[in-house]
Amino acid sequence: MSQSALKAFLSHFKFQPERNGCIGIERERFLFANGALQPRSAEFLHRIGKPAWTYELSACQVEDRTQPSESLQLIKLNLLSNDSDGWWAVMAIGCELVACEVGPADMSLDVYPDQRYLEIVRAISVERLQAACRVAGTHIHIGTRNIEHALDVYHALREQLTTLCELGDHSNGERLALYRAMAIDWQPPRYENIEHFFGTARVGGFDLNLRNCWHLIRITPHGTVECRMFGMTPHVDETLEWVTRVRSISNGKG
């Protein structure tokens, strides 16, 4: 393993020490009308016109995200504000936003016309595409200072993986079962050191593009550790409970 290759790998991570401990949240929700999920994310996004809202692989889903913040109160306001914007937009297009973590098996498999997603779809089976379209979740990011700190936080969260999976489950495990079908390499491994992390990334095919890592906990290009095990809840206070748990596990790790 050359040092330059390792250096190139680490350069993908843009740590922002000033955002150490800050929380960012992404929530995926379905568009619903007339008794079925609707592949209308493009129409929704056009209507809402806010950068906090974006598309997902399934054209039936949309995602909102919060600004990184340390303050739970500001995070809550951000979540409520995104919700209001979302509801305003769905009312305008005659839909509902549904916070459900597993879509029905017969849902539309239309994919949002994004180049990366189209390539992914070409490379996977229909079963995996169906799994990818059906799952929705809440991803919680926590900011870290540097790669050593990120690995510490990652390992602390990894030790609590089972607990966190249970905490965020609203589908008797169906969402996580589908996630595992979609992302075969879902289990966050233990990294002995930075070199081992790099080696795992190479074997897993995410050394050049960190977004190709589908582990339930992962270190992201933004210098955050991301927890992807939580399902969906319509209740902001429950989301904040997850945040509090993630933060409390991460605290004390540097």
Binding site: E70, S84, W87, H235, T244
Partner: protein
């Protein structure tokens, strides 16, 4: 009788007592359509050179000597109230009554060598272990909240890098509020007034923020009073969070369809205290929503509870007029209610950012729009003026004083500016700033 049996007995008694109300709602119907208002206002007592315990002892002494002044949880505060007064063409009688009650409190405090502090949160004392009034209710209720607070809950407050630990339910004893009681003309009218009050409260809160400092620390909020209640009193279990249950504080999960739904929500929470004969009063007394319905004799009364004590009586009366006028407009025009989730956002915006936030409101075409705080509140004030005219108020200058806050800022804004936004002002700096703004009255 163990705690579980006491709770069961209280619940049964509450259900009996509320069934009696639901079975005879005609009793609460009024033949008139008058606006009858009673105010409850709290102030803190303070002395630069005395400890909290010493101030509390003097407060207790003055309560024994003075009539017309009472107390609640806080050991360092006084409460006074007006009788129910009809507010029609004029608020002169209401103003005189509140000024009179305030004057009595002020003189009584002076007699004990204490100053009066007209602010939503007493900024001078530590939040944890704050002294409480020595009465069973004020021992048991905060202790219950402390014992049952959800494990692992984050109990710090502060924006902009400051942090104040608020993990003690007795912290709310540092808070002073203005409660506006309004007689409803019937039980359905009370429910309608309640729902509209919940919707309108954030606009009033945005303009009236007066609770920013705790323990000589700037929390960066406009009015954290109800937020501290929520955080320090969150006893919901994980299962209740999953079900989407709200707190007994603030906003309910949805507007109330009828009085039965209101009672059902109250019955969901522990009564904590044991006195079956008073189950109705205890249940409602512990319903710390931004607004609630009380039953007093043959009157159904809506109480708006979300507003902090204001720096002057005149400002409090203006705020009362803002509320009454806006409510009259809303009821008179059968204004559609904002979706409650939008109200939830408005409310937290008001708490955190006051006039600097953005608010959902309904523009003239009926469309829901988000506007800057000053624009939204100016719009709401204009609607309140329309409502006041319908009530019989034709004074063109009504609300002008309080509208001046759209330019000059809320009391919290003014205090922060005077303190030059110091994150941790000294006691001396705080005393000087409060004195300068007329909020600390010697």
């Amino acid at each position: 009788m163990n705690e579980q049996m006491q709770e069961a007995a209280m619940l049964a008694a509450f259900k009996d007592q509320t069934a009696a109300i639901c079975g005879d709602t005609e009793r609460f119907r009024k033949k008139h359509a008058r606006w009858i208002v009673g105010l409850e206002s709290e102030v803190a007592v303070f002395s630069e050179d005395r400890t909290a315990d010493e101030i509390g002892a003097r407060r207790n002494a003055l309560l024994l000597q003075s009539s017309g002044i009472s107390c609640e949880l806080g050991a360092l505060q006084l409460e006074f109230r007006t009788p129910p007064i009809e507010v029609g063409e004029s608020t002169r009688a209401l103003r005189r009554s509140l000024e009179g009650a305030h004057g009595v409190a002020l003189e009584a405090a002076r007699g004990e060598g204490l100053n009066v502090l007209r602010i939503g949160s007493n900024p001078f004392f530590p939040v944890i272990g704050t002294p409480r009034t020595d009465a069973e209710r004020y021992r048991r209720v905060p202790d219950f909240q402390n014992e049952h607070r959800r494990q692992g809950i984050a109990t710090t407050l502060g924006l902009n890098g400051t942090r104040v630990e608020i993990g003690d339910a007795s912290s709310v004893s540092l808070f002073q509020a203005l409660h506006i009681n309004l007689e409803a003309t019937s039980v359905p009218d009370a429910v309608d007034k309640l729902n509209r009050s919940l919707m309108l409260s954030p606009y009033l809160l945005a303009l009236s923020g007066n609770s920013r400092y705790l323990d000589l620390t700037d929390t960066g909020t406009s009015d954290h009073r109800v937020l501290v209640w929520e955080i320090s009193h969150d006893t919901r279990t994980h299962e209740e969070l999953r079900r989407g249950w709200g707190l007994r504080i603030g906003l309910p999960e949805r507007y109330f369809a009828d009085i039965g739904e209101y009672f059902d929500r109250i019955a969901r929470y522990p009564f904590i205290l044991y006195n079956p004969e008073a189950a109705l009063a205890i249940g409602i007394g512990l319903a710390w929503l931004d607004a609630r319905i009380k039953f007093l004799g043959d009157s159904a009364v809506v109480e708006l509870r979300s507003l902090s004590t204001q720096p002057t009586i005149g400002e409090e009366i203006d705020l009362v007029l803002f509320y009454l006028g806006r409510l009259a407009y809303s009821q008179g025009n059968r204004e559609p209610l904002l979706p409650i989730e939008f109200v939830r956002e408005n409310r937290l915006t008001a708490i955190l950012h006051g006039l600097a936030g953005k608010y959902w409101c309904r523009c003239q075409s009926g469309e829901l729009v988000r506007r800057s705080g000053c624009v939204a509140v100016a719009h709401e004030l204009a609607l309140a003026k329309q409502g006041l005219r319908v009530m019989g108020h034709y004074d063109a200058g009504t609300l002008d004083n309080i509208a001046g806050r759209l330019l000059g800022g809320s009391p919290s804004d003014r205090l922060a500016t005077t303190l030059k936004f110091a994150a941790k002002p000294t006691k001396r700096q705080m005393i000087d700033a409060l004195s300068k703004l007329g909020m600390l009255i010697a």
